[in-house]
């Protein structure tokens, strides 16, 4: 019985890191040292998950550390470690870094639990643990009204949607008489079952900023510190998509209309996200809309309701989170307007080329992570003959190249306006960015063994 607790050692490490940093006035180097320690502990947690046992059994009937959960947990902990390392090096827009890093680690612990959750109660608690620190991170600059405004909007919308979701969960529990995913069943529940699923799905889709529930994201992101956006827009998404995949695989077999609902949200997100991103001049807004579009791609893989699709979605969530976080970190270093990146290639050539690699991965160019991610997403949709989704996915990917290449053009041929924010060189931040480049390439090159491990290789 007690042996089940070993599965939570990585989460315990992350929480220990968060607490140590939070109460760490005594730590060497104070603010900066604390952030390094947090990064080290999160990195250790990621390593521990990655080398830990696969396909573990159910623990206490509530969590299951299987191979998909292992991949997603590694992604969550690893990206948190990279983010903490960057913050340790560059600081957090004139505020203390310690608190931001502690919040991020708490959110990461929630996200890692969420990846394993197999019970409605665990899912709800983990979901709230992973989103509540995000509200504070979004309003982290206390004197900045627009940041606070974005945070309040994000908070109100997020709380509204989690209560709507919770209302749905209470009906799901009432219909099936249990909160375990394995025992959820809405067969023969008629209208009440439909209501329960609709409410739950609306809440979860809004958390993932899928259209038509996306409108909070661009406003919230545009007000916040870019370093906060780098974390909030990426890491919770990995955990979110993992748990949606779990929940859908539990209830979708009872309800064919669910596929249609997810497919509609997918189409709306792909179209709206990509088209709305085209005219944006603020990198945070651009990445917010691009995030909506990528949620659309992720939902495309969930729509067929197959195990292959679920694994492909989790893989792509990680493949999307890496470059997306990296681009926002660059915005935090260089400035949030696209024009702030003008002549980046002349000032910091290696950084400019790294941005090119990340953007190419987001578009989906081989051999980067994004290409294989999209390949398997589209593959899962083709297997279930969802041709409309596939065609739209490919067309909107081409459209997305339009706004990503605007950034590239600015970096290489842009006219510099005024003095750009050339910050203090920081080795730690450089290491973090190099890790993100390496991750984008390595996940791409290692895509087929990774996906075989997830049990998702297409025939």
């Amino acid at each position: 019985m007690l042996s089940g607790y070993w599965h939570f050692v990585p989460e315990a490490l992350v929480v220990a890191g968060a607490l140590a940093v939070l109460f760490g006035e005594f730590l060497p180097g104070r603010d900066k040292g604390a952030a390094y320690i947090a990064a080290a502990l999160a990195g250790a947690a990621a390593l521990l998950v990655a080398v830990g046992g696969t396909g573990g059994p159910m623990v206490f009937g509530q969590v299951e550390p299987d191979s998909v959960a292992r991949f997603a947990r590694t992604g969550v902990a690893g990206l948190t470690a990279v983010w903490a390392l960057w913050v340790a090096g560059r600081g957090m827009s004139d505020e203390r870094r310690r608190d931001a890093v502690a919040l991020a680690l708490f959110a990461a612990a929630g996200g890692m639990l969420l990846c394993m959750a197999r019970d409605l109660i665990v899912m709800y608690i983990a979901l709230e643990l992973s989103t509540m620190p995000a509200y504070i991170l979004m309003g982290y600059r206390r004197r900045d009204v627009s940041g606070l405004e974005g945070a309040l909007k994000y908070f109100l919308l997020s709380m509204l949607t989690s209560i709507v979701m919770l209302y749905g969960l209470s009906f799901l529990y009432g219909i099936s008489g249990s909160t375990a995913f394995a025992e959820l069943s809405i067969e023969g529940a008629g209208v009440l079952g439909l209501v329960a699923v609709l409410l739950t799905l609306v809440g979860l889709l809004a958390k993932m900023s899928a259209a038509p529930f996306h409108y909070w994201a661009p406003d919230a992101y545009a007000g916040a510190a870019p370093a906060s956006v780098a974390f909030v827009s990426t890491v919770p998404k990995i955990a979110g998509i993992t748990v949606i995949a779990r929940l859908l695989s539990a209830i979708a077999p009872d309800m064919p209309t669910l596929v249609t609902l997810v497919a509609v949200a997918s189409v709306a997100s792909m179209l709206l996200g990509n088209l709305a991103a085209l005219p944006q001049s603020d990198l945070r807004r651009l990445m917010a809309y691009s995030g909506v579009a990528h949620t659309g791609y992720l939902l495309m893989a969930l729509a067929p309701g197959t195990d292959t699709g679920y694994a492909a979605a989790v893989f792509y969530a990680v493949a999307y989170a890496l470059p997306s976080m990296a681009v926002m970190l660059v915005a935090a270093e260089e400035g949030t307007e696209i024009t702030d990146l003008a002549q980046l290639a002349a000032r910091r050539p290696w950084l400019a080329w790294s941005v090119v690699i990340w953007l190419l991965s987001l578009i989906g160019i081989p051999p980067l992570a994004g290409f294989f991610g999209k390949l398997y997403l589209f593959g899962a949709a083709v297997d279930s003959s969802l041709w409309l989704l596939v065609v739209l996915g490919i067309l909107t990917s081409v459209v997305s190249a339009g706004y990503y290449f605007r950034v590239v053009r600015e970096m290489f041929f842009g006219e510099p306006v005024g003095v750009s924010g050339e910050g203090i060189a920081s080795p730690a931040a450089t290491v973090a960015l190099v890790a993100l480049v390496a991750g984008t390439v390595v996940i791409g090159l290692g895509a087929s063994p990774l996906l075989r491990g997830l049990g998702a290789l297409l025939g």
Binding site: Y135, V145, L152, L156, Y167, G174
Partner: protein, 103 residues
């Protein structure tokens, strides 16, 4: 006379709808927070009622309600802190006056 589950579910639905209306229609941030709290209460009532009528021997729904109560208390605290921080800067808690960000 016995009161069946439909009475409780109906009351919860009414409370939920009232809260939703308040959350969407109210202009003051504090009133929106109170409306959200009303919705949370409706959900808790739903859970406890379902727990009583669906699984009377186990207490799953009641445990669920306990957890959600704690979480929503924490969330409201966080929300009020955000509202206070904004009030210190702008001397206003009207949502309509908080619109410097436009999508």
């Amino acid at each position: 006379m016995t009161i069946g589950p439909s009475a409780f579910l109906g009351l919860a639905a009414v409370l939920f709808a009232l809260g939703l209306y308040g959350a969407v229609a109210r202009r003051s941030a504090v009133m929106v927070l109170m409306s959200l709290e009303l919705m949370a209460v409706a959900v808790n009532l739903n859970m406890v009622a379902l727990s009583r009528f669906v699984t009377p021997t186990e207490m799953t729904g009641q445990f669920f309600a306990m957890f959600t109560m704690v979480v929503s208390a924490a969330e409201i605290g966080l929300g009020l802190a955000l509202v206070l921080a904004i009030y210190r800067q702008t001397r206003s808690i009207e949502l309509s006056s908080i619109d410097s960000l436009k999508g």
